[in-house]
Amino acid sequence: MLSNDSFILRKSAIMIAIIVQIFAVYLFFRGHNQPGGGFIAGVASAIGMLLLFFANDRSIIPRICPFDPLRLAAWGLAVATASGLLGLLLSGAFMTQYHYKDSNFPVLGSVYAGTPLLFDLGVFMVVVGVILKIALVLLDALQGQEDVAETAFALPTGSSEEPLEGAAPGKGERSS
């Protein structure tokens, strides 16, 4: 969507994005014991999705991400807070973490779960949501924006602000 359409880029982006998502999940789960974790996994996952958006037509966005990414971020914050509240309920101190570990779990071998993982999930969701939201808003605004952004950095002069992209009403930001 940024430049001339390239079939090879479009198709390979899908493959790469899938691999990146798997990698992100891997990063997420290994975080407790090896390099990785919610933040890194979130960035990786967001980059993977951005790659898809760049390489494909914008119509792919609602298919990949059918909801407002900001909702994801908000829910992430809620999940992270909830993981802390769990500790408050169980032991009386906010963010007391609980762990569960089974080294003889069938099939998977060693399995770990605990409130830190839930907290990390919250971080992951916030990071993905925030990066996607900002990028999508910027991408949306790219439609027919070439000539109108002159006043974008004009400073506000009072409470009666003029529209930012007043030079070309009706163009640009149609949805977010």
């Binding site: 975080g31 390099p35 980059i47 802390g84 009072g158």
Partner: protein
């Protein structure tokens, strides 16, 4: 915990349960449902409080520790149950019962409003009860601000109306910013005494009476109380809060919330009364507010504005009253508070009924309503008589005892005692005048055609609450023996002096207080006649005295001020402000560094990785040099990315895989966002206007010098052995305590998890800010 305390805690929890019930739905939360049963909530709470008052003797105080919150700082939730909290609890819940009933009548034709409106009211009720029963200053502050939040929601309830929005904003900004002063004062006092428990502070007070911290803390606490109780110079928000629906004005902005400042002054009375600052501040501010409010009330024409300014005036009276009270304790302060609750609550409800029945809010357009609303006329007449202090009402008792008290202090011959007496007499005359005007111009005289054009008679349901309040005004005013008995049940040791003389109506024809009272009434009637003779043409508050206009003006000018600052600082392009920042940094960091340069040994160079590290450094340096030299923006963006990726190399080299991974991914994300941003704002792509060569040279010099300084600092500080390595403690604790071998991650999610939680919160807030900037046009379009 015994039965009584359990009941009290249950009463405090009840409003929250009611909110949950209303919100969860069901048939009693739809349509007229909530109006039918929700009044039971405050009614039950009042019953519990009355039971407690009857159960315990006067002067009894009890501290119920519920739970500790932050044990190390002495912050916890404890209840202080004594006469003061029970009295205010009863005012809040008793008045609440009437208001909840009144609301059912007020919104009778708009049942869809019930659910939301009652939720806000219940929230307010819960917050108020928390504030008055709180035994810990920090918890008191939190509840206190919650009442402010509830007030914001309720003032702005009719949010399609611009005045409602502005009134809500003004109230919130004023009360919250003064609330900040309150918090500062609480912290100052609490930290210097080592406890936030009010009861413990009372015990510790004598040792700290002379300390500056307590005086400053006391003044800051007073600022908070003055803001909430609309004292001069914060009085402007209260009249603007009147754009709320009338039940709100009657409940929050006359009877309960604005009394919190008075409550707080009463609460800290045993702590701060010995301070020298007590008398002058409270007396000056209080009585100035009293006179100011009375004058503005006389100059107003809107019914609600008249009542709002008279509320301001009465609150000033109460503040000044506490200022006058001797250190041994006060007499009958609760009488003055109760008196105001009774008549002002009734009058506000009357105004709401008049508005409801005629649709008119301006006193000049009303008249002759007596024949159509006879019951309302008598309610108004008696309540206004109480406002004016006519004999036979609680208002008379209140004014009489105030005058008596002042006259007894007058013999001390202090200036501070003559000042309030004069002001009270002048203010009372004005009060008499506008009370007469209020009754005569609404109910007597020729019938206003405009008022009866859309007239529909009020229901009995909506008239019942003011009727009850007025009956109490009359009952307690005519039988002072009952009033004495009732008020003595709320005796508080420390605040009230023992052995208050019983209240009497008749003090003898020649007692000075009575003579003054009679003269006030006569003079007030003369003032009213004067107003009549001049047809009230002068009845308008002069614009220069309208602080609220100044406030709104300042609020409107705030964005322009921000723009001015932005322009002055040259923030629109880094090449204007970066040289300033860098040269200041250069001076402040560089000068001491150069002066003591001998004190820092350089780190030892060597090790097997030196060669490979210097290779990476050379690459970095050449990338930096290229960044300066290339002209195309694409190349510049790519080169910043290159520098970022090259830094990763060091993380790999020194075995910080977490950092390396993060750096790679963040660099990639940044690069993408940067590219999109530049595409979004095409003018960024064009090379900026060229600077003159001289400026370029100076900028280059500053940049080079700063870069060299940073390099030198890094070198030198890397050579210093740190006293203790913080990281080691985490490395040791990582596996046993956080059950993870990756210390970086256990720090993020466990040891410093709270930081991370707040950081992601900041991330979301920052995103909202970015969206606000990027989507500005969209918002304007939908609201325009």
């Amino acid at each position: 915990m015994d039965l009584e305390n359990t009941l009290l805690v249950g009463a405090l929890v009840l409003p929250w349960l009611a909110i949950a019930l209303v919100q969860m739905g069901g048939k009693w939360s739809r349509g007229h449902g909530p109006g039918r049963w929700l009044w039971l909530v405050p009614a039950v709470i009042s019953a519990v409080i009355i039971g407690l008052v009857a159960g315990q003797g006067p002067g009894n105080a009890e501290i119920i520790p519920l739970f500790t919150w932050v044990a190390s700082q002495g912050i916890g939730f404890s209840l202080q149950v004594d006469g003061l909290s029970l009295f205010f609890g009863l005012v809040v819940s008793g008045m609440g019962t009437l208001i909840f009933l009144y609301t059912a009548g007020y919104f009778a034709d708009k049942p869809e409003e019930f659910k939301k409106f009652y939720t806000y009211l219940l929230f307010f009720l819960a917050a108020m009860l928390g504030t008055v029963f709180s035994g810990n200053l920090i918890m008191l502050y939190i509840w206190w601000e919650m009442t402010g939040l509830a007030s914001f929601f309720l003032i702005g309830y009719l949010h399609h109306d611009k005045t409602a929005r502005e009134g809500a904003r003004m109230a919130l900004i004023t009360t919250v910013s003064t609330g900040m002063a309150l918090l500062a004062g609480i912290l100052l006092v609490g930290l210097s005494a080592g406890t936030f428990e009010i009861a413990e502070l009372v015990v510790l007070a004598p040792e700290h009476a002379g300390s500056t911290q307590w005086t400053v803390g006391f003044i800051l606490i007073l600022v908070g109380a003055f803001g909430k109780s609309a004292q001069f110079p914060f009085h402007y928000w209260l009249p603007n809060a009147m754009s709320a629906p009338t039940p709100v004005s009657a409940y929050l902005h006359s009877a309960t919330m604005v009394k919190l400042g008075i409550f707080l002054i009463g609460r800290v009375f045993p702590i701060f009364r010995p301070l020298e600052a007590w008398e002058p501040i409270l007396i000056l501010i209080g009585f100035t507010t009293f006179l100011l409010g009375a004058c503005f009330s006389l100059l107003s024409n809107q019914l609600k504005a008249i009542l709002a300014y008279s509320t301001v005036s009465q609150l000033g009276f109460l503040v000044g009253f506490y200022g006058l009270s001797p250190a041994v304790g006060t007499h009958w302060d609760l009488l003055h508070i109760m008196n105001h609750v009774l008549y002002k609550g009734a009058l506000f409800m009357v105004v709401g009924i008049i508005d409801h029945s005629t649709g008119i809010k301006d006193i000049r357009e009303l008249g002759g309503l007596r024949r159509r609303m006879p019951l309302l006329f008598w309610i108004t007449a008696i309540s206004a008589a109480s406002m004016a202090g006519v004999i036979g009402t609680t208002g008379f008792l209140s004014k009489e005892y105030m005058l008596k008290e002042k006259l007894s202090y007058l013999s001390d011959g202090l200036f501070l005692n003559a000042f309030p007496l004069t002001l009270v007499i002048i203010g009372s005359i004005i009060k008499m005048a506008f009370s007469v005007r209020f009754v005569f111009h609404v109910f007597l005289g020729p019938e206003s055609r405009k008022a009866v054009a859309h007239f529909h008679p009020p229901s009995f349901l909506i008239q019942f609450p003011p009727l009850l309040l007025t009956s109490l005004t009359l009952l307690l005013g005519l039988f002072p023996a009952i009033t004495t008995k009732v008020l003595q049940a709320f005796h508080v040791t420390g605040l009230h002096a023992s052995g208050s003389p019983p209240l009497k109506i008749w003090h003898g024809l020649l007692s000075p207080a009575f003579l003054i009272s009679i003269s006030i009434i006569l003079a007030g009637i003369v003032l009213y006649r004067l107003g009549q003779a001049t047809r009230w043409k002068w009845a308008e508050i002069p614009p220069w005295a309208r602080l609220d206009l100044a406030f709104s003006h300042a609020m409107d000018k705030l964005p322009a001020f921000g723009g001015l600052i932005t322009r002055l600082l040259g923030v629109e392009h880094p090449r204007y402000h970066a040289p300033v920042i860098l040269s200041v940094g250069l001076l402040w960091i560089g000068t001491p560094f150069l002066l003591h340069s001998g004190a820092f040994p350089l780190p030892p160079f060597g090790g097997g990785e030196l060669l490979i590290a210097s290779l990476a450094a050379a690459l970095l340096a050449s990338a930096g040099a290229c960044l300066v030299l290339v002209r195309s923006w694409q190349a510049q963006v790519i080169l910043t990315g290159v520098i970022g990726f090259l830094v990763t190399f060091y993380f790999v080299l020194y075995r910080a895989p977490d950092l390396a991974l993060t750096q790679v991914l963040v660099e990639a994300a940044t690069l993408i966002l940067l590219l999109v941003l530049i595409l979004r704002f095409p003018h960024l792509r064009r090379p900026p206007r060229a600077l003159p060569g001289r400026v370029k040279f100076i900028n280059g010099f500053i940049a080079t010098a700063f870069g060299l300084l940073m390099a030198a600092l890094t070198l030198v500080f890397a050579g210093q052995p740190p006293a203790t390595r913080l990281g080691e403690a985490y490395l040791v604790a990582s596996l046993p305590e956080a059950k993870g071998t990756n210390a970086v991650n256990t720090i993020l999610v466990d040891f410093r998890g709270f930081d991370t939680l707040l950081e992601i919160g900041v991330l979301v807030i920052a995103t909202l800010g970015i969206l606000g900037l990027l989507l500005r046009r969209k918002r304007l379009r939908t609201h325009a």
